[in-house]
Amino acid sequence: MIECKSVNKIVTTTEGQLQILRDINLKVEDGQTLAIVGASGSGKSTLLSLLAGLDEVSSGEIILNGQPLHALDEEQRALMRGANVGFVFQSFMLVQSLSALENVMLSAQLAGVDDAKGRAEAILEQVGLGHRAKHYPNQLSGGEQQRVAIARAFITRPKILFADEPTGNLDATNGELVEQLLFNLNAESGTTLILVTHDSVLAGKCQRQVIMHAGELTESTSPSEQQRHVG
């Protein structure tokens, strides 16, 4: 479970203080799928990085799996991420010096999974890239790289998966492929999925949507609207 209590994020820039997030309250149950939608620059990615413990809140409190993040130091947060959290980014974020297989293995090993290699091979097979395991990221297309990223995220069977516009850089066909993978794997492993997207169709496939607007979060209350999206 993730819980956000009156979270504010303020950054200091050369032009003065900038409030990026304003009094965010959010609660996501285990296994839920949540879409965060909103205009570009509204603060979606910032929220995501706070939820994942990549960054620190200015005020307020985030509790992840019963653990208040502010009580953990950077090292402990890294450990927590390795064990509980998976990521998929718009720009794939693969380690350029490692092959597809190694990228997936790396994540498994950081989380202390046994037989990292065998499982990495299996999961790559699952995302349809068994034959490209030895290839390096720059030898793969965008869609393929994103599938590797998804394999990397799921190999640890994370409790929570954060996806920041995972299809944003992909064409329609590849986007759909990646989408399917995300939801299938989520269904298989019961992962909580928090997805940032522009794509209302994609958002509609989630059980719940919230809207980010200029740093403020509002629940998309209308179930009919939800229905429309899904439909």
């Binding site: 990615s45 960054d55 950077e74 720009s91 010096s97 490692l98 190694e102 790396l106 989380a111 290699k117």
Partner: protein
């Protein structure tokens, strides 16, 4: 419009610090070149001045006859200063004693460099004087006073003239290092020599002319004079072709400075190339975007070339200022030990520095820029596009050619540049091989775990493929530093070895066989550390393999000189021995034993054999006081002329020499404070000549200390240039690293793992680079030492261990320090910068 754009871009990027690394590299190269060449120009002129003292001028012309007055006229036209000296051998007579002495008559301009030293008492320390002996007075060696049994102020007869021996002569600058064959010196005025009557017809006089002036004028004079000189009669000497130990040390040092400057330039070029590469990669996106928006390739070219020009100019100006400050600081630091003057300003180093800045900046940023210009707009959509790689070979060839051209330009020496360049190229090729090897090892990676070790290797692999510049430039930098360091150590060691503590500072000649036991007894009584005793017989080499040779005394009625083989031109010092003298090496044949065959055997010094075209098995004929001796050449020897030991062209079999009357020479060391003891030490040894080289040795030692010190400073300068290059290189790889760290962080890698992987990576790179550098440096050094520096080649096995360790340590620390910052940045920040 484009100029405006360029200017705006420039301002923007200066603010953002994008151009800092290129700017720093240019500043560094200009500063290094300027400070090194300025300092070395100053030092060389200081050292040249010092060495000039040994020939009492910048140039010296010796002649066996009076020279054409037109020659001196020409020298005057070129505004050269001239001094003159006539010397001859003559008997001195006083108190009923007769002694043979070397008479030097000099004009009032003498000496042009260095100074005459005299003392009030025999065998005491001398002081410098600026005047010469007054009319009808002579100054003479202490030993002459002793041999003639007179005190300063007494009268001596020289030929037909009578003179007052007023002062004890301690030293004259051009006394030379000649170890034997020298007589005691008498100094007088040039006008006075006529009074002796020894200058009449048939007299054997030697003439010396000393010149000082501006280098260009001196060279012009020599150019004019050269065609008129006769090898048999004339000898031209300049500080530069001084073959003594000093001349040699200075020459070696000059080459060293040259090498150091060259290496500094190469280091600078490498750092500019690295920086430009990084700059260009960072600009792939902006250029792709500009192109997408419709900018033509021409426009982009103009914008970026102008940009590089701005940076280059700024870099040159800053570099000149920094370089000047640096060399000023160094000069101040050494000024109490090396008399380097800051008065003269040398334009050439400034020119070289500015040119270096331009050439380096333009040539080495060219390829990365070309790559940048070639970025297709498609990059906007496909981030992995990095311009066409087909021109890569062209780049390497062009950059290699440019480096070679630079090296050649600075050294003006094809050999040095060739040696360094070729070993450098070999190293680069070897490194490529290693890179391929690493990739193979990397293939095995997938089977293991992925820990710090694998991450480190993976990054190296990737770099070996895509960014091999880094590993290679680490190695090249280390190689250059090693070469400079090892060369410095060997050079200073060899210099010091020439003059170990206790080097003989006095030589004795004309010792008779009956005096030998007395001498030995004296040495024991005075606890003097004596050198070996060598027998000596003067002889004239008259025939080689049955052919007559030219000699200075060839009479008019004999064969014309041209028809004969070249000869020694003077009497040879013959010795005999049953063993090879220490410091000599037999390079052909075998040194004779005791058995005498048809002919007695002779061992000949290699260089003189070459000059006189003497080959193994030749029969040499010597004329020894009217008697003829024939000997067969059965070995050739290599002799180290740098040592302060008597060396001989011809060493004969002892049995052959028994019938000839020999004198003996020896050397010994006496501490400066015990100089007074010389009088009583030599008292029972009448007719023995004392050659005092104490002052000379001290001077020599001083010069070598100074040169060593200078070399050390140069080393420090080059080392700092090298470290800065290393830093630039580590910095250049930061972008790539930044992304990886962010990903690893996000995935939950622990700080320890990340730090370890980074440190390991640099350790491995440093280790490999160090090892490669050690191997390559051994090859480079071998050729440099044997071909360029005339030193004996030496192996440096210790560097095989030290270089990799130091490389690993230095690069590891540099890498760790540079990455520490990255590791401390908040992960969110790190990610944000890349999203």
């Amino acid at each position: 419009m484009w100029a405006n754009l360029a200017l705006r871009l420039f301002r923007h990027e200066m603010r953002r610090g994008e151009l800092n690394i290129i700017l720093a590299a240019i500043v560094l190269s200009v500063a290094a070149v300027l400070s090194l060449s300025l300092f070395s120009a100053r030092l060389q002129s200081a050292l040249n001045d010092k060495t000039a003292e040994f020939i009492a001028g910048d140039r010296q012309l010796s002649s066996r006859q009076v020279i054409d007055p037109a020659w001196l006229q020409k020298a005057r036209e070129l505004e050269l200063n001239i001094a003159e000296q006539i010397s001859t051998q003559s008997m001195l007579f006083a108190n009923g004693d007769l002694v043979l002495a070397d008479i030097r008559a000099v004009d009032s301009a003498y000496p042009l460099k260095g100074s005459v030293k005299i003392s009030e008492q025999a065998f005491s320390a001398g002081r410098e004087v600026t005047e010469l002996p007054p009319e009808n007075q002579v100054w003479m060696d202490a030993r002459l006073f002793q041999l003639l049994n007179i005190e300063p102020g007494a009268e001596v007869e020289i030929g037909d003239g009578t003179f007052i021996a007023s002062r004890v002569l301690s030293d004259i600058p051009d006394r030379g290092f000649a170890v034997f064959g020298n007589d005691q010196l008498v100094l007088m005025r040039l006008e006075d020599i006529a009074k002796t009557g020894v200058t009449g017809p048939g007299a054997r006089l030697s003439y010396r002319y000393f010149f000082t002036g501006r280098d260009a004028d001196l060279d012009a004079f020599y150019q004019w004079l050269r065609p008129q000189l006769n090898r048999e009669l004339h000898r031209w000497r300049s500080v530069k072709d001084d073959e003594s130990a000093i001349g040699n040390a200075v020459q070696t040092a000059e080459r060293y400075f040259l090498l150091a400057i060259m290496l500094a330039v190469v280091l600078a070029a490498v750092s500019i190339a690295v920086a430009a590469q990084r700059y260009s990669q960072r600009h792939f996106d902006p250029v792709a975007i500009m192109k997408t928006l419709g900018a033509s390739k021409r426009l982009i070219q103009k914008v970026y070339v102008l940009q590089i020009l701005f940076v280059t100019m700024l870099g040159i100006v800053l570099g000149c200022v920094l370089g000047f400050v640096l060399q000023h600081g160094v000069v101040m630091l050494v000024s109490d030990r090396v008399p380097v003057s800051l008065d003269t300003w040398y334009w050439q180093p400034v020119g070289i520095a500015v040119l270096t800045g331009f050439i380096c900046a333009l040539l080495f940023s060219l390829y990365p820029l070309m790559q940048l210009f070639g970025i297709p707009p498609l990059r906007v959509l496909r981030r992995d596009i990095e311009g066409s790689g087909t021109k890569r070979l062209v780049q390497y060839v062009a950059a290699g050619g440019a480096i070679f051209a630079l090296m050649w330009l600075y050294s003006g020496n094809l050999q040095i540049s060739g040696i360094l360049f070729l070993t450098g190229a070999l190293l680069v090729i070897a490194l490529f091989a290693v890179s391929v090897g690493l990739i193979h090892i990397g293939r095995l990676l997938g089977s293991g775990n992925i820990g710090a070790w694998q991450l480190a290797w993976a990054r190296i692999q990737r770099r070996a493929m895509n960014n091999s510049v880094q590993l290679i430039s680490f190695s090249v930098t280390l190689l250059l530093l090693l070469v400079v360091l090892a060369l410095r150590n060997d050079m200073i060691k060899q210099w010091r070895e020439q003059l170990p503590q206790g080097t003989p500072n006095y030589f004795l000649a004309n010792i008779t066989a009956t005096q030998l036991p007395v001498l030995k007894q004296q040495f024991t009584d005075f606890t003097v550390n004596a050198g070996e005793i060598y027998p000596l017989i003067r002889g004239r080499l008259t025939e080689i393999a049955g052919e007559k040779v030219q000699s200075a005394v060839t009479k008019e009625n004999e064969q014309p000189a041209e028809a004969r083989r070249p000869g020694l031109g003077r009497e040879a010092n013959l010795t005999w021995a049953s063993n090879v003298q220490a410091g000599n090496k037999v390079v052909a044949g075998t040194f004779f034993g005791d058995d005498v065959g048809d002919y007695p055997e002779v061992s000949v010094e290699q260089k003189i054999a070459e000059r006189l075209r003497i080959t193994m098995g030749d029969i040499l004929t010597f004329d020894i006081g009217g008697q003829t001796l024939q000997a067969k050449v059965t070995s050739l020897r290599e002799v180290n002329w740098q040592t302060m030991q008597p060396n001989f062209f011809f060493v004969l079999q002892p049995a052959a020499m028994q019938d000839f009357p020999a004198t003996y020479i020896t050397s010994f060391h006496l501490d400066g404070e015990r100089k007074q003891a010389l009088a009583s030490l030599l008292a029972p040894l009448s007719s023995v000549t004392l050659i005092d080289v104490d002052a000379r040795i001290n001077q020599l030692r001083q010069i070598i200390d100074q040169v060593s010190l200078a070399v050390e400073f140069i080393l420090v300068l080059v080392l700092s240039a090298g470290s800065l290059v290393l830093i630039a290189q580590v910095q250049a790889s930061m972008d790539e690293r930044r992304q990886e760290l962010a990903i690893l962080r996000t995935l939950g890698a622990r700080g320890g793992l990340i730090r370890w992987s980074v440190v390991l990576e640099f350790l491995i790179i440093g280790l490999v680079a160090g090892l490669m550098a050690a191997l390559a440096h051994e090859i480079a050094l071998y050729f440099l030492q044997t071909e360029v520096f005339n030193m004996s080649a030496s192996w440096h096995f210790e560097y095989w261990l030290i270089a990799p360790l130091v490389g690993a340590a230095v690069v590891g620390v540099l890498g760790a320090v540079s990455c520490w910052q990255l590791l401390r940045i908040n992960t969110g920040q790190l990610l944000r910068n890349m999203l």
